[in-house]
């Protein structure tokens, strides 16, 4: 056994190298935090109301622990989904809302601030738009009127408006 040929040694090394690679890939995959994914505007439908998603200013998404995306045409649809039956039975990793002022940027729903204004009409008519800070939401409120709130208060408003079962 001591007299292992050089050839065999190299073969062993190669095998080991392959394991290292595999381990590496597995580790990289495992380290991937689920995050917001692209929503295909005009193709994907809302997982709550089934409407085709067509307005990126309001399109929101929920990502599960396993990285599966649930997409919504409006912030209010995501709130209703989380509040209602279906959302209760999945492992939610994170909730994302679109930054109204920077198209394509995502905000963590619980940390964002919201303006509810009739001047900025959302697909589901509750008219919420999302902002990074309370300041920014208030600036927008000065332009368009309406009321500013956080995620928790928004949830209450949606529940109240749609309690008849949307």
């Amino acid at each position: 056994m001591v007299a292992m040929t050089k050839m065999e040694n190299i073969r062993e090394m190669k095998k080991f190298g392959r394991y290292v690679w595999m381990m590496g890939i597995v580790l990289v995959l495992a380290a991937c935090e689920p995050g917001p994914q692209d929503i295909r505007i005009g193709e994907q439908e809302c997982d709550h109301c089934r409407m085709m998603i067509s307005d990126e200013r309001f399109a929101s998404q929920l990502v599960t622990e396993k990285g599966r995306q649930y997409a919504f045409d409006a912030i209010e649809c995501m709130a209703a989904f989380v509040d209602g039956g279906e959302g209760q039975s999945i492992d939610i990793h994170s909730l994302w809302v679109p930054d109204f002022e920077r198209p394509g940027e995502w905000l963590v729903a619980e940390e964002a601030y919201y303006l509810q204004s009739d001047e900025l009409r959302s697909p589901m008519a509750l008219n919420f738009s999302a902002y990074e800070t309370e300041d920014k939401a208030e600036q927008q409120q000065n332009r368009f009127s309406g009321s500013v709130m956080d995620w928790h208060e928004l949830g209450g408003k949606v529940h109240e408006a749609w309690s008849n079962g949307h």
Binding site: G42, R50, M51, S54, M124, H166
Partner: protein
């Protein structure tokens, strides 16, 4: 007596003053056929006419005047119409908003706009710019106008009894950019939308909180989202419309008592596309429509007491997909021809009635000779349930294995809904 004479004198003076005021009106305005209480003046706009700009004339008009716009290109935007006037284009003059702002904003009752072409209304992230916007008015007509590259075409906000007829709206909107609807109604009742052609918008026609309105003879084609879209809009009727090649045909959502008749739902292809989506719809009727070449003909979720009869479903992937959350719907006297799946559902529960339809896949017999097959027909294939749960399985559609599965299930139903069955399948097509 002296007192009376004094008053008479005052009246004479007042009349004289009024007389000078009428003569003082601009000579550019020609008075024509004055009737009591009306002014009925005509303002001509164009090269070599009294006014060269529409906005100048709009500042001078009073109720019941007419504005005649002669041929030409008018680079104007944000035209506020604050009097009940008639605006007529002669040989279709062009109003080019030059991507600067909205076109007309109507804030007076019963305004009539006819024969114009409005172009280049800018898209906006935060403003709903429209070529023509009616804002809190009652009555009005928009007839035979063209709209080219406008963000919103016609926008009604809190405006009632407006008629939108024979217009053509053309936009070039894409999924990626902010898009807007061709004809958009919000909080507006008793509207008539007829004979319009809408192409390239987000929704062709969009209704939100609209009641008692009638939509007919329109043609919505190539719009990004829906040809026609109802949100929270009760007691409306749409008939004789054609919905072709839109993201999906029509979505009727959260509405009651909608009448859908004689429409054509054609070629709505795409992974999640459909001719007609019913979402939380109650007490409605779908009659004499043609669903042809759609991924799904009708898709119904949470919809109750909808009567679906005398329709033709031909060459669709799925003719009808109905969830178990839909109750007491009546599906009868329809023709199902050449569909990959006639009916599909998501559960063994079924709370709707399928009766006396014609199914081209029915292979039963009619020994009694009463026109109905003697053995019931089960329109839900076992395979459709598998596809409902695992869409990728669709690639096995034509396989031998699937045919055997379906046959076995038809003989001895174990998974497909037991009560989803047509007890009286028709032996020949319903003549429509």
């Amino acid at each position: 007596m002296i007192k009376f004479k004094g008053i008479n004198g005052w009246i004479v003076i007042l009349l004289a003053v009024a007389g000078t005021m009428t003569t003082a009106t601009p000579p550019s305005v020609e008075a024509s056929s004055l009737s009591p209480g009306q002014t009925n003046r005509v303002f001509n706009i164009g090269e070599g006419e009294e006014y060269s700009r529409i906005s100048d004339a709009l500042e001078q008009v009073s109720d019941r005047d007419t504005i005649r716009i002669h041929p030409g290109v008018y680079r104007e935007h944000q035209l506020i119409v604050a009097q009940s006037v008639v605006i007529i284009g002669i040989d279709r003059p062009v109003i080019d908003a030059g991507h600067q702002g909205e076109g007309f904003r109507i804030v007076a009752d019963s305004v009539h706009i006819e024969g114009l072409e409005i172009r280049n209304v800018p898209t906006s992230h935060s403003r709903d710019h429209a070529a023509i916007r009616f804002d809190r008015v009652s009555g009005g007509k928009i007839i035979d106008n063209r709209f080219d590259d406008t963000f919103f075409g016609i926008y009604l906000a809190r405006s009632h009894g407006v008629e939108i007829r024979d217009n053509q709206l053309r936009a070039y909107q894409t999924r990626e950019a902010v898009s807007a609807n061709g004809i958009h109604l919000w909080n507006s009742n008793h509207a008539v939308i007829a004979g319009n052609i809408i192409n390239g918008h987000r929704d062709g026609i969009y209704l939100e909180y609209v009641e008692n309105s009638e939509i007919y003879d329109n043609h919505a084609v190539n719009n990004i989202r829906y040809g026609l879209h109802f949100m929270f809009s009760d007691d409306c009727t749409y008939h004789r419309n054609r919905f072709e090649d839109n993201g999906a045909g029509v979505a009727v959502m959260y509405s009651k008592r909608v009448m859908m008749e004689d429409n054509e739902f054609l070629q709505n292809w795409g992974a999640s596309s459909y001719g007609l989506l019913l979402k939380e719809i109650t007490d409605s009727e779908i009659k004499h429509n043609n669903f042809s070449g759609n991924t799904t003909g009708i898709r119904a979720e949470g919809s109750d007491r909808v009567k679906i009869h005398y329709n033709r479903f031909q060459r669709n992937g799925w003719a009808i997909r109905i969830t178990a959350s839909s109750m007491d719907n009546m599906i009868t006297q329809n023709n199902f021809i050449d569909n990959a799946f006639d009916v599909s559902t998501n559960s063994r529960q079924n709370n709707s009635t399928f009766e006396a339809n014609y199914w081209d896949k029915y292979s039963g017999y009619d020994l009694k000779g009463d026109g109905y097959g003697d053995v019931p027909y089960r329109p839900v294939r076992l395979f459709s349930l598998i596809v409902e749960r695992n869409p990728m399985a669709l690639m096995l559609l034509r396989s031998m294995f699937v045919q055997i599965l379906d046959l076995t299930e038809r003989i001895m139903p174990t998974i497909t809904p037991e009560t989803l069955v047509d007890e009286k399948p028709l032996m020949s097509e319903v003549s429509l």
